[in-house]
Amino acid sequence: MKPFGYSRATDATDAVRLAVEGEAKFLGGGTNLVDLMRETIEQPSHLIDVTGLSSIIDEHADGGLTIGAAARNTTVAEHRAVRNNYPVLAAAVLAGASAQIRNMATVGGNLLQRTRCTYFYDTEGSRCNKRRPGQGCDAIGGHNRNHAILGASPACVATHPSDMCIALAALDAVVQLQGPDGIRAVPMTDFHRLPGEHPEVETVLHPGELVTAVEVPALPPGVRSAYRKVRDRSSYAFALVSVAAVLRVEDGRIADVRVALGGVALKPWRARTAEQTLIGGPATEAAFRSAAAAELTAAVPLRDNAFKVEIATRTMTAVLLYLVGGVQ
């Protein structure tokens, strides 16, 4: 990797100030960035270590949480308030990576890991519009079993591999940012961009902006939530398909339903069509299956990943059924 400077920020304001000197990147646990730097895919001239920023999980009176961006994945998964009130979030974190990586990786870094694929990593042999805008995408006509069926463009078919982000999308989390122009908040579902013609731009961050915290709104009583991950191995593998679901049923009708899909899209995918189909209706297997199918009608299978359409339909149905106490 090319030489770079290294600074340790004392707080968010200090980090933002340090980032003004061009081509700086914020460094969390390093579990994605250090790897990408070693592969020469990322080449910052300066790293600003933000692991000393807030790692606290603050519990609000209404039950909501503010999670400091420097909180490690393991810290989030083991926290009592997360386990008791947001099991979908704890389960999603525990389904990701390995224990060693979960101990190092930060919440901020998890949000900002690259949307990526094997062709993105193949700097010597493959064309990639993220690495070299306009170069082309060899995944589209290549080995694309692990690639996206939703949200793709002719420029990119990679998936955002985070599990945590899928749960945060289903929970309507809000990302807190601080930058040269001040403080702002962006809903999790708006934080990541679809590729369009510029797959190299993956988030709505302005230059020099830092993720400082993630707010998870309180859930009303009676909500159940779950995360399910379908993959080739039973551990330490990316999702082929994953589902985060939040559900509340009142008097036999669906009062609240939020579903997010992982492993299938260019960004954490809220299943809005399925949700609109389900809300106010019965909580039956037939309704779940019909809604899932409606969501997946937008799917565009590639040569090798058409199986994901059926798996996503079945998994969404199964998770919703599980949440109403039916057979998994």
Partner: protein, 163 residues
């Protein structure tokens, strides 16, 4: 601090903790398997928590207490158990397995759940063969000594005393 000894972190921030241990400090026990965080052979303990040292920049760890396989001094019961239960063949993954298992047992004692934890709200965690395998899934063994490794961990694990 590395194994209780204060050391000066390299001036070049590109140096990984793994390379610092092996190339600068001549602590060759920690191994470089994949150099991309996928195999776990480089696992060390930082303030008692297991990390993959290949993705760690040495510069980030100057205030932390790092323990490598050498730092165990051959005295940890798991080390004898690995030998007794045939938990190795070539030995390349072994230092990482041992450090990872020690970190894993500490996580278990602390109450960290796993992907297999059926009830995340429960006060106690289930301990089983499957649980150990899941918690050790970040450490690969190409020789296939997993059964011996899990047997060694099982033999070493002591349930917390109630009260």
């Amino acid at each position: 601090m590395i194994n209780g000894v204060a050391v000066e972190i390299p001036a070049d921030p590109r140096v990984s903790l793994l390379d610092f241990l092996r190339e600068t400090l001549n602590l060759h026990g920690t191994k470089k398997g994949c150099n991309q965080g996928a195999c776990g052979a480089c696992t060390v303990l930082v303030d008692g928590e297991r990390i993959v040292s290949c993705l760690a920049l040495a510069a980030q760890y100057d205030q932390r207490e790092v323990t490598t396989i050498e730092g165990l001094g051959g005295q940890h019961p798991l080390q004898a158990a690995i030998v007794e239960h045939d938990g190795l063949q070539c030995g390349y993954c072994t230092p990482g397995q041992i450090c990872s298992a020690i970190g894993m047992l500490a996580e278990l004692e602390r109450g960290v759940p796993s992907h297999l934890t059926a009830d995340l709200t429960a006060d106690t965690l289930e301990v089983s063969n499957d649980e150990f395998r899941e918690r050790m899934s970040g450490n690969l063994c190409r020789c296939g000594a997993h059964n011996g490794i899990i047997a060694a961990i099982t033999a070493t694990y002591a349930p917390p005393t109630p009260g």
